[in-house]
Symmetry: D2
Subunit: 338 residues, 4 copies
């Protein structure tokens, strides 16, 4: 049977998810859309020739009997209310990151979900569906390099706009590492420290770039993540796991090997959308399949909460220059990984 989906927020990511649900993925159909900018919602229906109802109000979309599952791709601050509303209707909801603006908001969602008795929330941390990270995780779990002891990571963007602030280095950029590295190590963070290298002259005034975030996990794994958002040369994600008997590194995107002008070279991506493009497909197909039968298995509300708590400590560490503790509530059995 085809899952009937309602989408709140038809901006960049919203339209991208509507495109893949309609043209690429299997077993789902977008039958309702809403955007605070109704004109944009109407344009989206036309652009993707959707047989979908335009809701004036997001809450009426969530309540629409025809809507079996909700996609929340509106601005971050609006996510909490829509997710809670969907849970209230007992409807599965895929929510783009961040799950909520604050750790507390995430907890409210987690509480509501547990109260509902079944998993209804999947958060849009697509990296957990990336083939490269999955292969890396398998090497670790198979004991291929012994117990992980250290991680050396880097999240580099070519450039960011004037509107990009130092805190967005945590909430918009590092947030993906904060989620995926917990999942990779099956571990939790206990502290964060931020150090500022010499500033690049290519960062707009007022933005400290690059930053290095030093994390420690409960099992003692030391993680360094370089966040460099004006690196100029490309969109480059690095993750090397150093274990007791070996090291394993995230695969580089596949590329033609070129010999030209005295260099042998491969391509580095420049557009972040290309880097995890397959992962977006897998995460949404998993959501559709999960709702229709086997149950949700993707990033949980608790993962959303954990990323939010870690982000909060990193934001503190950015200002204090000190090692800030990262303390989470005990994970409820409800969110124990299967």
């Amino acid at each position: 049977m085809t899952l009937q989906i309602g989408v709140i927020g038809t901006g960049a990511i919203g339209q991208d998810h509507i495109r893949r649900l309609t043209q690429t993925l299997s077993g789902a159909k977008v039958i309702a859309v809403n955007d605070i900018d109704a004109q944009r919602a109407r344009g989206t229906i036309a652009k993707y020739e959707l047989d979908a109802k335009l809701h004036e109000d997001p809450h009426s979309l969530i309540a629409d009997a025809g809507v079996q599952a909700v996609l929340v791709t509106s601005w971050g601050p609006t996510h909490e209310a829509f997710v809670l509303a969907a849970i209230a209707q007992g409807k599965p909801v895929f929510c783009e990151k961040p799950l909520a603006e604050t750790a507390a908001g995430c907890l409210r969602i987690a509480d509501a979900e547990q109260a509902s008795g079944r998993r209804l929330v999947q958060v849009g941390f697509m990296r957990q569906y990336d083939k490269g990270y999955r292969a890396l995780r398998e090497v670790i779990r198979n004991g291929g390099i012994g117990e992980p002891l250290m991680l050396h990571c880097a999240h580099r963007n070519p450039t960011v706009g004037e509107s990009y602030t130092a805190s967005m280095a945590i909430t918009d950029t590092l947030i993906h590492e904060l989620d995926v590295l917990r999942w990779l190590l099956d571990d939790d963070y206990i502290s964060a420290q931020v150090v500022y290298p010499r500033r690049t002259r290519n960062a707009h005034a007022g933005l400290a770039d690059p930053q290095i975030v030093l994390l420690e996990t409960a099992r003692g794994v030391r993680i360094d993540v370089e966040v460099f958002v004006n690196c100029q040369y490309g969109y480059d994600i690095q993750c090397a796991v150093i274990g007791e008997t070996g090291t394993a590194s995230l695969p580089e995107p596949s590329s033609v090997l070129l010999r030209s002008e005295a260099r042998v070279s491969s391509r580095i991506l420049t557009d972040w959308k290309e880097r995890f493009i397959d992962a977006y497909d897998f995460e949404l197909q998993a959501f559709v399949d999960g709702v229709k039968g086997r149950g949700l298995s993707g990033p949980t509300a608790w993962d959303g909460y954990a990323a939010a708590v870690a982000a909060d400590s990193c934001l503190l560490a950015q200002k204090s220059g000190k090692v800030e503790t990262i303390a989470m509530q005990k994970r409820p059995a409800f969110y124990a990984p299967d």
Copy 2:
């Protein structure tokens, strides 16, 4: 609307294509199946929970009014008849390679298709949909390495069964190179020569393995393709294009980079099905999308004919030890690439 598809031949590839049409791809539904082994056809319907009619006879499936497009995944020798029958019904048909057992058979299909007035046939040369070959083709077309002058290729399987014969090295293994290299260079072959290196002790008696096939194209490009089907170490496809100002090589499959036991290493696939698994998805999605609107754009009946002609000359060259000419009829305008 959802394309209603009938499948003839529910063996290894048939079931694989049924799986992806049903669970992975978008806009199609398998509503009729046939296999000479009815029991296997019935098993397939159950296995993939198909809402599909079991036809006793393949020709009744083709004639079934509900069937809008046909998939031919039966044994090679049966393909020609089924494709001709589908064309006779004016129904688009995706036919696994080989299109027909002989060049003449392919010409009969091409003639029938031209007589029908529109493109109805797509041949299952999935490598034309592989991201790596497409990126390689783009580098060549963008002039990144100047005019192509030489190709150094290799098609290596870990092992083959006792039933594998020397001629299958051409009709089953090299056939993929014969198709994809023409497409890659947008050129046609004019000669083939086969040389036999020292035999590996790991080939079963009677099989000359490896073989090197030397091809020349109309534009003078020299191609060497190593066909080594008992190479032991993995399933490894290599293709290096040497141009006037540089060289470009087919991307290696993406892999975790491991440092362990004094080696830094990446994975080589061992299962041929994994190597072009995405390409099978893209080729069938393109067939479904093509039938539903924009028209077929994949490998044509003429590509099937060209591969068959080249294969015939290679089979001759295997025995003669001489340089055998490869002569094709002039390509009809009907098959001019858009």
Copy 3:
């Protein structure tokens, strides 16, 4: 003319240097040796068929009129006295690292050298002569990656013996990075911090392994050096420089590329002596050539002092867990790089 050299300390490194002076390098001859273990000195003369005088006492060797230059390859604590004695005789002296046991000892040597009016001391930091580090330095100086902002380094040994202590991770292992990274960046350190990841089960009891040393330079470059001396998989030196517009990494040792057992792989060295074997040749040939004509240009007594000061702060940081300042006296003009 052939430089007449006297060697104090015919142990592992002493004999290795005697071998290369005699059989590989050009323009030098070992004509006097001394070792506190006279028996070992005598054995060395025989082993390398040296036409050399055996001195009972190191100071008599230094004073020997026939000795034009001195090589100090005895135990660390004995270096300072022998170097000062050579300077007193106005004789050039190549001293293996460490130059002296303490920063103060190094300063005493620097003062004596300046008082002598000419460069007489070269310290055995062979990495400054490694082709890889030199190529990396050139990329940085040519502006190939913009101003350096961060360094991600690793110094990994397969295993160390029971006698290896945590402080030796600084004085024996990290000491090489402490020297070469200053030289690479043409910069000085201002602080050091040591963090301890989870301990490997392969380290002998009482040894904290691995350790991560975090350094900051005067120009704000942030450096992380992973010191992991029981990494099991090999002897692996990594150094990635992250600049404003790109990154440049220390070359991997050249290796045959092997495809075997489903892996494509290259060799990782396991013996530290092999990793910089060419650099030992270049540093000693430079010493011989420098003495005979153009003057010494290798690592100076000041480099010895700088490494000692940094090492002292790292040793403090190991215990304090705090960020320790690294403060050096102002570099005398005498030691300004040409």
Copy 4:
């Protein structure tokens, strides 16, 4: 003791060898030089501050009692006479390739050397001393990839001058592969075929470039060597050995790994002199050490003969377009490898 060497031919390679004998290598001294251009010989003595006698006539140099060993680095056609003259004097002689202009010339030298009763001749095929080829040979001999079955090689120069002729592709360029591949496989050639791909527009008129030389060995190994002397992008030597259980490829020259402008890349050399610069040092040090004691072990007069015979057949094949046999006399026991 120091080997007293006389050098005939102080051109490009002659001066390069004089430089390394004088400034880099150990145990030798150039005490006599001759060049048909006396002015250039005199200039060389001054340039390298040689304590050497200028001989008006090459034969007087060979006869000079002070000359213990001869280096022949004059034009190819003059080599045979000088080598025979040295043998006549019982003096060891290092002769740059080609040993002689014809196979017959090489046989005359081999006969003279055997008549003298001891190994006196080393030919300047420096690749046998290259660390990369030696490591590749070791992998083969250790059975790391099973019996070798095929070799895929390439010898690519960026550009050649107007004076470069098609036959020089064999006598000047391919000659190095003809020697090193025999040595690599410990095998002899039995046939050669030359095929001409489409011509690059970057070759000067009249030069067929690139060429592909197909060789077969006595043990049935099939070798393809691409000779492309106007490849534009760099000086690039490739050699992949395909064995029964794996493949092994010649190491790439070590290089800084750069991430810049959306490419991750390594350097490709452009100057042929840099590619085997270490090998030239090793081959001459081996000659000096061999003469002084352990006896010559490098490329023999027989290797010179074998390369000449193979070259002759390749020159025939260039014109005939047919498979030309390569037939050598039986190797005398005198030249059996130790």
